[in-house]
Symmetry: C2
Amino acid sequence: MKNRNTQPKPLFINKENMCIALDLYQLTMAAGYFERSKNHTSTFELFVRKLPENRSYLVAAGLEQVVYYLNNLTFTDTYIQYLKNLPLFKNVSREFFRYLRNFCFQGDLFAVPEGTIVFANEPILRVTAPAIEAQIIETYLLSMINYQSMIASKASRVVYAAEGKEVIDFGTRRAHSPQAGILAARACFIGGCIGTSNVLTAYELGIPAIGTIAHSWIMAYDDEFTSYKDFQRVFPENTILLIDTYDTVKGAELAVKIGKRLKGVRLDSGDISLLSRKVRKILDNAGLEQVKITVSGDLNEYKISELLKKRAPIDSFGVGTEMVTSKDSPALNGVYKLVEQEVDGRVIPKMKLSEDKVAYPSTKQVYRFFDKNGRFKKDTVGLADEKYDAEALLLPIIRSGKLSYTIPTVREIQKFATGNFARLPEKFKKLDCGTSYQVLFSKRLREMKERISRNLIGFDKK
Amino acid sequence: MKNRNTQPKPLFINKENMCIALDLYQLTMAAGYFERSKNHTSTFELFVRKLPENRSYLVAAGLEQVVYYLNNLTFTDTYIQYLKNLPLFKNVSREFFRYLRNFCFQGDLFAVPEGTIVFANEPILRVTAPAIEAQIIETYLLSMINYQSMIASKASRVVYAAEGKEVIDFGTRRAHSPQAGILAARACFIGGCIGTSNVLTAYELGIPAIGTIAHSWIMAYDDEFTSYKDFQRVFPENTILLIDTYDTVKGAELAVKIGKRLKGVRLDSGDISLLSRKVRKILDNAGLEQVKITVSGDLNEYKISELLKKRAPIDSFGVGTEMVTSKDSPALNGVYKLVEQEVDGRVIPKMKLSEDKVAYPSTKQVYRFFDKNGRFKKDTVGLADEKYDAEALLLPIIRSGKLSYTIPTVREIQKFATGNFARLPEKFKKLDCGTSYQVLFSKRLREMKERISRNLIGFDKK
């Protein structure tokens, strides 16, 4: 049988196949720019039009993976052959495919450092490159920045709600694919989590891997206490016991029999506020004040906040599904838009007028103003060459294809994010925040937009 | 500086590192089972406790990637060394790591074929293997089955709403990571989409890659019509033009000037119902009745249904964000639970009693009953050895580690899914369905659960 799929496919992304991990139209446009000699230097900006519901800020994340992609993107013969054979490309010249074979990203990338707090309509990154290079990378850049920024932002909310108690990412099993689990663990760490259950992320990034036992461990025994003792024997310094398999209170009573070497207990079901209190009392009565209580089970920032409001004696939160899917707002609508082209030495600002989807033209910069205490006061999105007594957020990352930036470790990024967050005024941190941070467009930018809108409308009316 | 991250990391999953793409507790439990001689043959079942909101059925998907994983899972020295060095494992014997070094999955896998319609509490797959093998694979299995089943189910709803019009997956840029984009495209195809914008998925699975141009193509030109003509020159047989960049009606008026070679137009913004009607009229008046109208832009099953109710003259729908994130219900809470162990020749059914999280014990099968027209009548979840005049949904896929099943192509899976869906009674297909399909538990299973609950509670009271 033709096309018989005899071997199961893993559907991994790798260094070789990432060149076609994109939307087909990137390649038709690339071919079109090539064939019609329209490979002009172009600037695209990636930004979020509107913050997700309940969010009043975003934590930018995903840049490191974007840098990897841009610095390693090539088209090997296998994929070029596949594209050549698509009926769609039959009128496209051999030269285009030869161009692809020699493709490498030689443009410029500006971006806000990972961990930077950003808001709607602020460019998170900006690419300037020949049109084909800038176009082909759109899909991958969006998918990396959209997902990691969404998760870092969600994690930041969860960590904020936890008021200094530890938050751990437990989400891999509900993340949207194994790779999403890895990236989520990274983004959650940037957002302030202290570690992850995901071993591969811990390995890759050198961050803490955290975890002990599931219900199946307890269930593998005929009696619960033997399961506790056995675990304690194998992990004498890390005896954190899951105590809700049959009955949480009884589980706690058995756990205290482990004695001084018990390190913690985990509750994963039931009325956590009530049960954590009962468990704390059982622990304390047994003289085990140092034993920590971890809770898990469909937690989110609202539930954590509620638990802490009720003064539930919880030391750490394992958060999974809701954090790694950003469940209350599971898609970040980042877009990547052409804002400028240089044609025969002439710089032409670009914008579209589609209903409800108007954006600002030209190459921009984000200028952040601070109050006298060093807190964020307001941002101005202006042209890249404007001068303000403010911090310019977009930094040069890649220049003419070469990395011109020291990639920070994820711990450094977390530290940077924490510092950034500390400077965000308190009112924007509220979980149900209705308050919008002030992002203005500069006078020059507004005037340019006005002028171009008029011209475009004028043009259409001709 | 120590741990200096000089090279950016892609964070890909691959054949080598997938062994640690799991939650740490799978490995602590594995070590515990090993050290305490508890590596008994165990059966785990993967099922969804409760259907997501608005869903009345699920389309099972992800099995092919599970099979790849089970048949290729090994622990290389690099990762074993990493684990050995974790302080957590310092009391674990060298023998355990030697065991890991020789690890390969030698158990049995039963599963419903991909594309099968399933309901809450029905095992989608069942693993029987030594405890360590069955435990270690939990995270990866859940992440694959949860995500692909969720997306295939969502796509099935979108395709149903489209009433026979074409639906195309456009979602990669908003999927949760590049790999999620690939898997989503596959799951959407299983759910009935005719193709995807994702080139890598099209390449890997031999399905149609679909796409033409984005707004940037139009914006790269000084005038819209030249951009249309140029695209037509390069893609004479595939001239599908995006006409909403500046003004949809004017865009349509320019597009018809392309003449008979125009194949289609795409609308991506504005009042789609109204605009599609205006555009259809412009096309028809120009004698271009054959030209197709595609629409896109934050579509979902409800919006599509609404558009078709209003008789909007649309030929195909490009659906992205909402489909690949299952936006209205972005996490499928599949769980993987120990249901049975064999200890010294004795078969012991297992269950936990955690509040709200009780499951049924023992190795099960799903029996599906049909009415005289071949439509689904009801399902019974019973013990694996019960006999009914019904279809047993769980089939043997892997026996003692060896593939015993012919992996179907994704086109065959789509066909199978379509056939399965056709046999689902109409009332369960409604988009806002409140009707639950009847899933019963067999008498033997209910009695067993009752008996074990009593014993467990009895045990706890001791």
